[in-house]
Structures are given as structure tokens and as C-alpha cells.
């Protein structure tokens, strides 16, 4: 992960000068440019289960893909008005800086360095990821605090290794770490029983679990020991575009909080709740504030549903990857997803 960071910083150093001048000349123009060309250009991964991956019909699908689709719904009332650019982790920031893509929605961790020095702004957090632990169910472990004496499989030279060391020493837990060079080797070693615990980012754990012979025999512990907030980002210096992105994200959260879903959105149009009226554009001109039609909220929910529905559809417990809602639940449900009101 540090290697990636270094490369990203390198790419960004080259990108900086271009970014600054880009922002100057195209300052307020991304939304207009997007409207002119008729689609949102969205930077995605080359295939990460649940976040952005091809589906069975060879279309892009995933939680982060849905953010771009929501953006397109708000602007064009057409969730399919999105073009996807698969990006590697090294080229993603340069692609955003150079204007090749309009929004980067590619499992990117929001950190201070990235936010301040890469010429980008993070819109929000689509998924609170973090380092977790996977153990065999047969071992009867239910909490990371019970891991004393266990051997832990870790990938070498990553922040994962440091996080784990910090966590175990601060909790006075004595473990043996077994370090491997490659992610594949770590999984293999865990599967072969060379260690009792496998630790990496919890979304990756969930995906890797599926490559084990019997996924149900393994348990991902609920403890998360690091902060890896993943979210979309846009070019710095274009506040109108940033605002639109940010409020599309907030709208998804607000819709869930107010109980507006894809199924009931038409009924909700007749709701007496003023918050819902504002959300769906029945009352007020909130669309004007971000440069789109006033029924932008209705369009998004009608096409894609609220944040909770997106989560359940792509990464929730009923999907293959099956990640419990955990901290990604709304603040009203004990999580930390919280959005300012539309007012």
C-alpha cells in the first residue's frame, strides 16, 4: 500500500502543474462539459467484486459504479449515461487531473495527503473499509481480543503489517506474525493451516473468502482496526461540480434516512413530510442550487434506490461478498453514515 502511495504521489507531482492550470481554464466547466458531451466519464477499477466489476450481462455494476449512475440520473435522468474508464491504482489520479475522467470512483482511500496534495477533493465516503481479521469458525474465536497465541498471516511491507502490530501491542496480545510477499501466498498459507488468522482490509477479506474451498467455514471478525474510508473524488477547483457530486452522495443517505426507496418513491411524492418533499423536489428549488433539474432526487431514487438499497444490492449480506452493514449503517441505526439535511 505504501508502494502504491509513493507511485501515486509521483504521478501526482507530475500532474500538479497540469491540474492547477486545468482548474484555472476549466474552472467552473465540468458540469457544463458533461452536459455538452452527454455522459459522465467515470473512473473505476479493473474489476473489484461489489465495488466495480462486470456483471453477467457484461455491464459495469457495483456500489461505486452506482454513484456514477446516480450522478448521471441527476444530470440526464438516464442512469446509463455513463462511460467507464477502468484505471489501475497508479494512473487513477493522473487520469482525474488530466480531465480524462470527470469523477474517480475507484476504491480510493481518503487520506490527508491525497486530499491536500493531489489536486483532488474527496466527495464523501461510500464505504467505510478498514483492516479486519478472518478466522476459522472451528477455532471458536469471536473477537480479535481472543487472538492471544495465534499465528497471523500478513502481506509484507504494507500498512496492514504496521496496523496489526500496533493493535496487538496496544492491547497486550501476544501473537506470532507470519509474513508473505504476495496476497495469493497469504491466502494459500491461511488455507493450508500455517496460520490461524488472516488480516487485510475487510472488503478484501470478504472477497478472498470466496476463493476458499468452503467460505462458510470462515468468519470475519467484527473488529476493524484501521480507517480506510473509500469514496469518490473530483478535481480540485471546480466547486460547482464538487457540490453536485457531494449532494448526490448526501441525497442517497438522506433518502435512506427518510425511508424513501426505489419501490415507494412514487407514493412518497404525495408525502406530507416536508423533508421528503424537499428531497424529491416537490417543494423548493434545490436542484437549481447544484445546476440540475429540481426533481433530481426523484430521478436518482427512481433509477437506483437509496444508499441502503445500493449497499444491499452490491456488498450487503445477501450478496456473494456478503459484508454486514456495520459502521456503514446510518447514524440512526448505530453506524456512522450521516448526511446534512437538504434544506
Amino acid at each position: 500500500m505504501q508502494k502504491k502511495l509513493l507511485l501515486a504521489a509521483l504521478a501526482a507531482t507530475f500532474g500538479m502543474s497540469a491540474t492547477a492550470s486545468y482548474a484555472a481554464s476549466h474552472g467552473a466547466g465540468t458540469l457544463q462539459a458533461v452536459m455538452d458531451k452527454g455522459f459522465v466519464q467515470c473512473g473505476v477499477t479493473g474489476g473489484v467484486r461489489g465495488f466495480s466489476a462486470p456483471d453477467e450481462n457484461n455491464n459495469w455494476t457495483g456500489l461505486e459504479v452506482d454513484f456514477c449512475r446516480a450522478l448521471a440520473s441527476a444530470i440526464f435522468d438516464d442512469a446509463d449515461a455513463v462511460r467507464y474508464t477502468p484505471l489501475t491504482s497508479t494512473e487513477r489520479f493522473a487520469a482525474l487531473s488530466s480531465g480524462e475522467i470527470d469523477v474517480l470512483s475507484r476504491t480510493t482511500t481518503w487520506t490527508m495527503t491525497r486530499d491536500t496534495s493531489l489536486g483532488i477533493n474527496f466527495v464523501g465516503v461510500m464505504f467505510y473499509d478498514g483492516q479486519g481479521f478472518m478466522v476459522r469458525k472451528s477455532d471458536g474465536i469471536t473477537s480479535a481480543l481472543e487472538l492471544g497465541g495465534a499465528s497471523v498471516c500478513i502481506e509484507a511491507g504494507t500498512t496492514t503489517e504496521l496496523n496489526a502490530a500496533d493493535y496487538f501491542s496496544s492491547n497486550n496480545i501476544d501473537v506470532n506474525t507470519v509474513v508473505f510477499e504476495e496476497q495469493d501466498e497469504v491466502l494459500k498459507a491461511y488455507e493450508d493451516g500455517r496460520c490461524d488468522v488472516y488480516t487485510t482490509d475487510s472488503s478484501a477479506l470478504a472477497a478472498e473468502r470466496l476463493n476458499l474451498e468452503d467460505p462458510d467455514a470462515h468468519l470475519i471478525l467484527s473488529q476493524i482496526i484501521s480507517k480506510e474510508p473509500l469514496g469518490p473524488s473530483v478535481r480540485q477547483g471546480d466547486d460547482a461540480w464538487f457540490n453536485l457530486n457531494r449532494w448526490v452522495y448526501f441525497l442517497l443517505l438522506n433518502a435512506e434516512e427518510l425511508g424513501v426507496t426505489q419501490a415507494n418513491v412514487d407514493d412518497m411524492l404525495a408525502s406530507d413530510n416536508p423533508a421528503i418533499k424537499r428531497l424529491l423536489g416537490v417543494e423548493g428549488t434545490y436542484g437549481d442550487l447544484i445546476g440540475v433539474s429540481n426533481d433530481w432526487g426523484y430521478r436518482i431514487i427512481k433509477a437506483l434506490g437509496n444508499y441502503g438499497e445500493m449497499y444491499e444490492r452490491h456488498v450487503g449480506p445477501n450478496t456473494e461478498i456478503g459484508i454486514a452493514r456495520g459502521v456503514n449503517a446510518l447514524w440512526t441505526d448505530g453506524g456512522i453514515q450521516y448526511a446534512p439535511p437538504i434544506r
Partner: protein, 380 residues
């Protein structure tokens, strides 16, 4: 005389004794085995050892790909059994993705048609008995790329649905990159090779610098520069298509290698050929087109095919700049739907390897055929 001889000698053979077959131990399969495999104790041990190694390897592959393989199923769950081999339903289910990538499924006929036209033209071009090579060649090298571009990309005057290059993928993309690279780099390479042998200092130094520059950097760097750095250097707002940037990079890179191969061929031609051309009063263009180049190209067929095969395999590098080629598609496919099981990634790689092998082997066989057919001299 005759009588005397017959009387004085008890027996005279009047015909030759037919050759007796050599001992069975020295001929046929057994003889061959004795001579080549079991001629000494040491060799016998080596033979048995090698046989064992081959057996282990083949039986392992066979068990993985056939005996233990899963042939039917509608999801990764079917392949989640103990001691499982390859998961072939994964290939079957995701095949359209591996071939066309994100290309819209209602439009598959367009790349199919492009493949078919290319196949037919290539067949016409590759079969010596069919006349009209010049016309077919022109069709294949000039008309066909244009037709293919409009067919696959659509839009503008064609009235076809426009399919942006982001949606191209899989084997289709691999072939587009490989064919463009091979076809477009060839003329550039020939020109560079001639330029490097030119007597004009400026032309020569330009060609030398170009060739050495491109040969001096790895393809992965070229692609990375093309995809990450280039957009930053260009004026803002100008956006080259990502695939186009990769294509230009691959083409220029291959051209530098082709140039050196062709130059090798030019240097192998006896000096007398050049002098004879001069003596006939041919100008540079005539001498090159009629005398030296045809001979040089014939000599370098193996080298050029070698280049082409290597380029074909190098196209997988485009996946590091985010283009979803065959290898990228096989990789991305494991993140799809229910398709996740222990052996699915390996199955995908096996499939990709098989496809690459088929194409590369076909190229290699055809080049050997061409060499034999064009073997018209010099090797006295």
C-alpha cells in the same frame, strides 16, 4: 566349358542370397529404443526418470483439466467441491465477455463480421494458388483497417450505434492491438531500416535516434507514458482516446524492432546485388523495390514473425493501463456474479494461455510454410 564347371564344383549359387533382416534387437521400435534410450545403464536410468517426470506432469494436468474438472454448472458454487480441477462452466458462461468485453450484445455481429472479413482476406493472401495478391494486399492493408474501424466503432455516416472504445475488450481488443501493431509497424519499420542505411547523414541520424530511443525503453514504460504522462503534457481539453494512445505506443515500439530485423536482412544481401542494380542504371527507388528489399524481406521472415508473435503476447501489457484485453477480461471475470471458487482464476488463465498459444502457433507454422515456399536460393 559349362559342363566341366558344373561337374567340378559341387554347388554354385546362381542367385544372390536375399538380405536377411537385421536382428530384431537392432531394428524397429525395440532397436531404436536400445540405441537411443537404453544404450547404457546411465542412459536407461535417465530415460526412466524422464518418463516418470513426464508422466507426473501430464497426469497432473490431465487430472486438473479433465478428470477432476467440473463441466456443468450455473455458478461458482458448482466448482466448490473438494479436490476440484478446472471450472469450465466459468469459461462457458463468461465467454462473450472474454471475446467482446463490454461491447453491447446486440452489436456482436459487427466485430464478428470484421473478424470474418479479416479471416477471408488473410486466407486469400496466405494461399499462394490464388491470384490477385496486389489487390488483396491493398484491400487488407488499406481498406480493411478503415472498414473495421467504422464497423466496430460505428457512429458518423454509418448509421450504426456508436460504441466508444471503453467498451471494447477481451479477445477483440487483443486482436485490434496486435493486428494494428503488426500491420502499421511494418511499413514504418522498413522505412526506418532503409533510413538507417541511408548515405544522407540527417536521415540516418534521425532514424538511428528514433530506433535506439524506442528500443531503449521497455514496452511497459511506453504504455505507461502514453496513458499517464501524455495527457498531462498535452494542452488542456485535448483528450486522445486511451486505446489510440496505446496503439500508437505499441506501433512505434514494434516499428523500431522491425527496423532492426529488416536492416539485418539488408546487410545479408551480397554487395554484388547492389552493384548490379547500379550497373543496370536503376535509381535508388527501383533498386530497392525490385532488387534489395524483396530479397531482404525473404531473409527476415523468421525475424518478423518472431517479432509479431512477441508483440501478440506483449499486448497483454495493455491491461496495466486499464484496457480490458483478453487477460484483463479473464481477471475481471472472477469478480462477476457468483463466479468465485478456488480454481476459477487458474481456469481463466489456462483458457487465456490456450488462446494465445493457438494464435502464436498458427503464426509460427505459417511463417515456416512461407520460408519453404520462398526458399529460392543463396543456400547453395
Amino acid at each position: 566349358m559349362t559342363d566341366t564347371k558344373q561337374g567340378s564344383v559341387a554347388f554354385v549359387r546362381s542367385e544372390m542370397v536375399p538380405d536377411a533382416p537385421p536382428p530384431t534387437s537392432t531394428q524397429g521400435v525395440i532397436g531404436w529404443l536400445r540405441v537411443n534410450m537404453f544404450s547404457s545403464i546411465g542412459n536407461s536410468i535417465l530415460t526412466l526418470l524422464s518418463l516418470y517426470v513426464i508422466y507426473v506432469a501430464i497426469s497432473g494436468v490431465y487430472a486438473f483439466t479433465v478428470t477432476n474438472a467440473i463441466w456443468e454448472g450455473t455458478g461458482g458454487a458448482a466448482c466448490r467441491v473438494e479436490n476440484v480441477g478446472a471450472c469450465w462452466p466459468y469459461i462457458g458462461n463468461r465467454l462473450t465477455f472474454f471475446i467482446y468485453g463490454f461491447y453491447p450484445d446486440t452489436e456482436y455481429w459487427r466485430p464478428n463480421l470484421a473478424f470474418a472479413i479479416g479471416g477471408v482476406l488473410l486466407f486469400l493472401l496466405a494461399t499462394p494458388q490464388i491470384p490477385g495478391k496486389v489487390i488483396t494486399g491493398a484491400l487488407f492493408l488499406i481498406v480493411y483497417p478503415v472498414v473495421t474501424y467504422f464497423l466496430i466503432y460505428g457512429g458518423s455516416f454509418t448509421g450504426l450505434l456508436q460504441v466508444p472504445t471503453e467498451k471494447w475488450g477481451g479477445l477483440m481488443l487483443t486482436l485490434v492491438v496486435a493486428v494494428t501493431g503488426i500491420v502499421a509497424s511494418f511499413p514504418i519499420g522498413v522505412v526506418l531500416a532503409l533510413g538507417r542505411r541511408s548515405k544522407m547523414p540527417l536521415v540516418r541520424s534521425v532514424c538511428v535516434v528514433f530506433i535506439e530511443l524506442w528500443r531503449g525503453v521497455p514496452l511497459i514504460t511506453v504504455l505507461f507514458m502514453a496513458s499517464v504522462m501524455l495527457p498531462l503534457f498535452l494542452p488542456e481539453g485535448t483528450n486522445f482516446d486511451k486505446l489510440m494512445r496505446a496503439l500508437v505506443g505499441v506501433t512505434l515500439f514494434t516499428a523500431a524492432y522491425t527496423a532492426e530485423v529488416v536492416r539485418g536482412g539488408l546487410q545479408a544481401i551480397p554487395k554484388g546485388q547492389f552493384e548490379a542494380a547500379d550497373a543496370l542504371g536503376l535509381n535508388y527507388f527501383q533498386a530497392t523495390m525490385l532488387i534489395t528489399l524483396p530479397q531482404a524481406l525473404k531473409i527476415v521472415i523468421p525475424g518478423i514473425v518472431n517479432n509479431s508473435i512477441s508483440l501478440f503476447k506483449d499486448t497483454t501489457l495493455v491491461s496495466i493501463v486499464g484496457l480490458v484485453d483478453l487477460l484483463g477480461a479473464v481477471r475481471a471475470g472472477t469478480a462477476t456474479g457468483t463466479w468465485s471458487a478456488p480454481t476459477i482464476p487458474v481456469t481463466g488463465y489456462l483458457f487465456a494461455a490456450a488462446v494465445f498459444w493457438v494464435f502464436s502457433f498458427a503464426m509460427s507454422r505459417y511463417s515456416q510454410y512461407m520460408e519453404r515456399r520462398l526458399d529460392t536460393g543463396h543456400k547453395s
